[in-house]
């Protein structure tokens, strides 16, 4: 068809009444499953026509039997294809954030309330189809890959759930949109080195290497302290769980600053910052992040790291 893709898309959206997002679980009811012959199905129809003409012409009764058996088989196959999809229960699964350049996966879990379903496929618009069998009593997770080239928020969009089982003559499909989205962090710039020292007590070389700093004091253990800072000897002496504090860390307020990140463009600078965030988190360093218009107070831990990475992912350069 010669319609522009956008026009076809809007017609398709109108026909298939996309309501976004839907509340899980979504059950593929009878009214939201569509079915049409596949390309193979049309070819099969042509074959049947030829067989019928041959049967008539050669007055082959068994030819008629063959033709009608195949035609009826196709009719029954339509029902089977439809029922292979009907009443499936879909739930959105985990969709983890990734770094740009990696492959992200939107996961949708599928359950069947009745018989086993074979060759259930899902695909995003313009995406590759992923196939799986769904066995009763088990939850099958289908991960839709999406290559995350650029940082930002990637939304999954409408997912087409389809099947052609058992004989491929019909294409039964349904659309589901959970409004799934995931974050793509900037690609960490491994060549970025270490953040420049900006606090007075900070070494010139940058991020401290364990053992380099002066041991300062012991303090009570707080949840989230890296294991390597725990005073194991003190623990062995039954003095309780104590954390060693180093002077550099105790006093330093490591700020990862937009202004310090050198790069050709915004993305390059974000990549540098991303690398620094990961590095700082890796060393258990408490750090803060300063971006134009955003400032995240120093802290540490997984949640903090993710908050910083999210800020980097969603950063929009001021004009």
């Amino acid at each position: 068809m010669a319609f522009p893709a956008s026009f076809r898309q809007s017609v398709s959206d109108w026909i298939f009444r996309a309501q976004v997002p839907e509340t899980p679980p979504v059950t593929l009811g009878q009214r939201r499953i569509f079915i049409l012959p596949s390309k193979q199905g049309y070819a099969f129809g042509g074959t049947l026509l030829l067989l019928l003409v041959a049967s008539i012409n050669y007055a082959l009764s068994l030819g008629f039997v063959l033709t009608f058996t195949l035609a009826s088989m196709a009719g029954v196959a339509m029902l089977h294809t439809w029922r292979n999809l009907a009443h499936l229960k879909l739930r959105p699964g985990r969709s983890d954030a990734v770094f740009a350049g990696e492959t992200a996966r939107f996961t949708v879990s599928v359950e069947t309330p009745s018989q086993a379903r074979f060759s259930i496929a899902m695909r995003r618009r313009d995406g590759e189809a992923v196939y799986a069998d769904v066995i009763p009593g088990e939850t099958t997770a289908i991960a839709l890959p999406v290559s995350a080239a650029h940082r930002g928020l990637v939304s999954c969009g409408r997912i087409e759930v389809f099947t052609r089982y058992p004989v491929g003559l019909f294409h039964a499909w349904s659309y589901v949109d959970f409004g799934l989205a995931l974050l793509v962090y900037p690609r960490p710039d491994a060549m970025a080195g270490t953040p420049p020292a900006q606090s007075k007590s900070y070494h010139e070389e940058g991020i401290p290497v364990p053992g380099d700093e002066e041991f300062n004091m012991l303090r009570a253990y707080r949840a989230g302290d890296p294991p390597r800072q725990i005073a194991w000897k003190a623990l062995a002496r039954e003095q309780g769980l104590l954390t060693k504090e180093f002077s550099a860390m105790a006093s330093s307020e490591l700020w990862l600053d937009w202004e310090d990140a050198r790069g050709a463009d915004v993305e390059a600078r974000l990549s540098v910052l991303c690398h620094w965030v990961l590095q700082a988190e890796g060393y258990g360093q408490s750090f803060g992040l300063r971006l134009p218009g955003t400032e995240i107070q120093p802290a540490r831990g997984e949640a903090h790291r993710n908050r910083c990475l999210e800020a980097l992912a969603l950063f929009e350069a001021p004009r």
Binding site: A43, L62, F64, L66, L79, R83, P113, V130
Partner: protein
């Protein structure tokens, strides 16, 4: 320079979608097996080289798939294709006839298998397979072949299922869905078969060899050719008598009448005037229906002599029946005959003249004997008596394997030397003797007798019942049937060919099989089944369709009525199958408490307080209580009962009903 084999090992796993249906080795092997199954019956009837070629190509393809080799290069494929076409042309002289066309289709299908690269090629091959199923029916439409082809279709559908599966499927996972599809398709297929409007003839002219079944009598007879026919157990036609079977000795089924004679071979006359059926009648006619197998010839068979002929048939003056076109498909006709008859009293001079022609140069001793009889007594009855003495002298023997006769004077050789022969020897020599004696005589070929199937009282006439006899013309009597074979072997005429040849006969075992006892019973049952099959399945044509609906009380159905019924049947059967599937797929009944709970949640959701997927009943209740203080107590009661029923001690029917009632009465607003 290093020459590399064009398809040396090159493991190049094609880039396929992860987990998607693919050109898996097992799937390809399934397809190859299906192809071998469907082509199998053809390979038995086609020249050996076709089978060798086909199996070699299939094996090659299997090898390529198994070791994941590259497909043969395009140039080689072209060369093989060309060779195949040339082979067909050389073997069959053309590429359009039945054998030639089928051979070409088989070879092309095998080459398609060889170059199969993607899913589309696979599908094409499978559809080609369905065509190959169809081509088998050009050769035979018997029950065994039908069942075999059904199995082939099953395998093909199973192959299709395999190609539509993710990864690998077991034998059962292929065969079971395929069987389910076919079994559920059967009612619809039956409706289509019965109701689909049939047409009267082919859409376009067919090549004459398009159908099987051209064994049978021919336009000429020379010593030996009926004897070959008689070794065939194939059915010539079946007869259903409307008023019971006439006496066995009257069952002479008249076929080609041979008048022209060259000394060895008897031939049909090219032009015979039309005949009449208004010959003197002495009794009630025998009424019967004949189901004739295709012969590829114009003539049809009837008992001597026809009273009324079927539509589209001309009766000739020698009582042959000619159909308007060659019988290329099974044909059923109703007719009547008079077995106690008298005809041809006023035969015209030309006809009688033709029945006296012979070449006196050939078979001189036979001619001399006939002339001698006539000289002794010109009365045809006396001549006949002399002939009777000759054939009953006890020196003649009835055998299917007579010695080869001398070419120029075969009947001299037979009458005076070998004295061993079959019906055509007796009929031929007798007719010649009569002509030499001045009695108009001709040879009639056809069938004698038949076998009655006790299960359905049908008479089966086989090629083995082929027979030849004589007719002589006597003033005041007209044409009289004389069967010289009856003199030699009365059993042949009384009881059929098997009895005549006895248990130590020279017939192949297929004829002298046991016709009594258990084996005989099974044989008869099988024949009865075949007869029904031929009549109602293979022979289901326009006439049969009309007949069927007439018997149901709808005498004149046209295609519109049929179409309407067909649509109705499709809808009804489709609905039945759909409902069957839905009932089968119905998920297990959910607990009543869960149903009530879902309804409760739906009511709250409508009030803008939807339960989050992760929210348990208690947490939800806390939220509901905070947001909807007015409904708090009712919600609390419902939640308590639900939790008790589902996670606690369970609930009685009454308690579940109460819960349902509470939910029903619950108002969120």
């Amino acid at each position: 320079m290093i020459l590399r084999l064009p398809f040396a090992k090159a493991r190049s796993p094609r880039a396929t979608e992860v987990g998607s249906p693919q050109l898996d080795v097992r799937n390809v092997l399934w397809l190859l097996a299906a192809m071998v199954f469907v082509v199998g019956p053809h390979l038995l009837r086609l020249p050996d080289w076709v089978g060798i070629f086909f199996m070699a190509v299939v094996a090659w393809r299997a090898w390529i798939s198994w070791y994941a080799l590259r497909a043969p290069p395009r140039l080689l494929m072209w060369a093989i294709t060309l060779a195949a076409v040339v082979g067909v042309f050389v073997a069959f002289g053309r590429i359009v006839g039945r054998e030639g066309g089928v051979t070409l289709l088989i070879l092309m299908a095998s080459l398609k298998l060889l170059e199969m690269r993607n899913q589309r090629d696979v599908i094409l091959s499978i559809y080609l397979g369905f065509f190959l199923v169809m081509t088998n029916f050009l050769f035979s439409q018997s029950i065994p072949l039908g069942l075999y082809m059904l199995a082939c279709v099953w395998i093909f559908v199973a192959t299709l299922v395999g190609f539509n599966r993710v990864g690998r499927a077991t034998l059962g996972e292929r065969m079971r869905p395929a069987a389910a599809l076919l079994v559920q398709a059967l009612p619809l297929m039956a409706a289509f078969f019965i109701l689909f409007p049939r047409t009267t003839g082919p859409l376009w002219a067919l090549p004459t060899d398009s159908r099987s079944g051209t064994t049978g009598l021919s336009e000429s007879m020379s010593p030996g050719n009926i004897a070959n026919l008689i070794k065939s157990d194939a059915t010539a036609f079946r007869v259903h008598f409307k008023d019971g079977l006439p006496p066995y000795r009257t069952l002479y089924w008249r076929g080609p009448v041979l008048v022209d004679f060259d000394g060895a071979t008897w031939n049909m006359r090219r032009h015979v005037s039309a005949g009449r059926t208004d010959h003197p009648r002495s009794e009630r006619p025998v009424r019967y229906a004949v189901t004739l197998e295709p012969t590829g010839k114009n003539w049809i068979f009837g008992l001597d002599i026809p009273g009324s002929v079927p539509a589209g048939t001309t009766l000739l003056s020698d009582m042959q029946m000619r159909y308007r076109r060659p019988v290329t498909e099974r044909m059923r006709y109703d007719m009547t005959s008079y077995v106690d008859y008298r005809f041809g009293l006023e035969a015209n001079r030309a006809q009688l003249q033709a029945a006296l022609q012979f070449d006196p140069e050939r078979n001189p001793r036979t001619v001399a004997l006939g002339r001698q009889w006539a000289a002794e007594n010109p009365d045809p009855r006396q001549v006949l008596a002399k002939a009777s003495i000759l054939y009953n002298s006890g020196t003649f023997a009835y055998t299917l394997d007579p010695p080869l006769l001398e070419r120029r004077h075969p009947f001299d050789d037979f009458l005076f030397n070998s004295k061993q022969g079959f019906c055509e020897h007796y009929a031929g020599s007798f007719t010649l003797l009569m002509r030499a004696a001045g009695v108009p005589a001709r040879v009639v070929t056809g069938y004698m007798g038949g076998e009655v199937n006790p299960l359905n009282d049908e008479l089966i006439v086989r090629q083995a019942d082929a027979h030849a006899w004589s007719e002589i013309w006597i003033r005041d009597l007209g044409w009289v049937r004389i069967d010289p074979t009856a003199s030699v072997s009365p059993l042949r005429v009384e009881n059929g060919v098997n009895a005549a040849l006895g248990p130590i006969g020279l017939l192949p075992s297929l004829i002298d099989a046991d016709r009594t006892g258990l084996i005989g019973g099974i044989r008869y049952a099988w024949h009865a089944l075949n007869s029904q099959w031929d009549e109602w399945v293979v022979g289901y044509n326009l006439d049969r369709q009309r007949q069927f609906f007439t018997s149901l009380g709808y005498p004149s159905v046209d295609w519109r009525t049929l179409g309407f019924w067909l649509m109705t049947a499709i809808i009804a059967i489709g609905a039945a199958v759909t409902i069957g599937l839905l009932v089968h797929d119905r998920p297990p009944r959910r607990e009543a408490s869960l149903v009530a709970w879902d309804r409760f949640c739906a009511k709250l959701a409508a009030a803008g307080l939807a339960r989050a997927p992760h929210e348990g009943p208690i947490d939800y209740l806390l939220r509901v209580r905070a947001s909807l203080p007015t409904a708090a107590s009712a919600a609390e009661e419902i939640t308590r009962r639900y939790v008790e029923a589902r996670y606690g001690a369970g609930a009685s029917r009454q308690e579940l009903r109460d819960l349902a009632r509470l939910v029903r009465e619950f108002r969120a607003a």
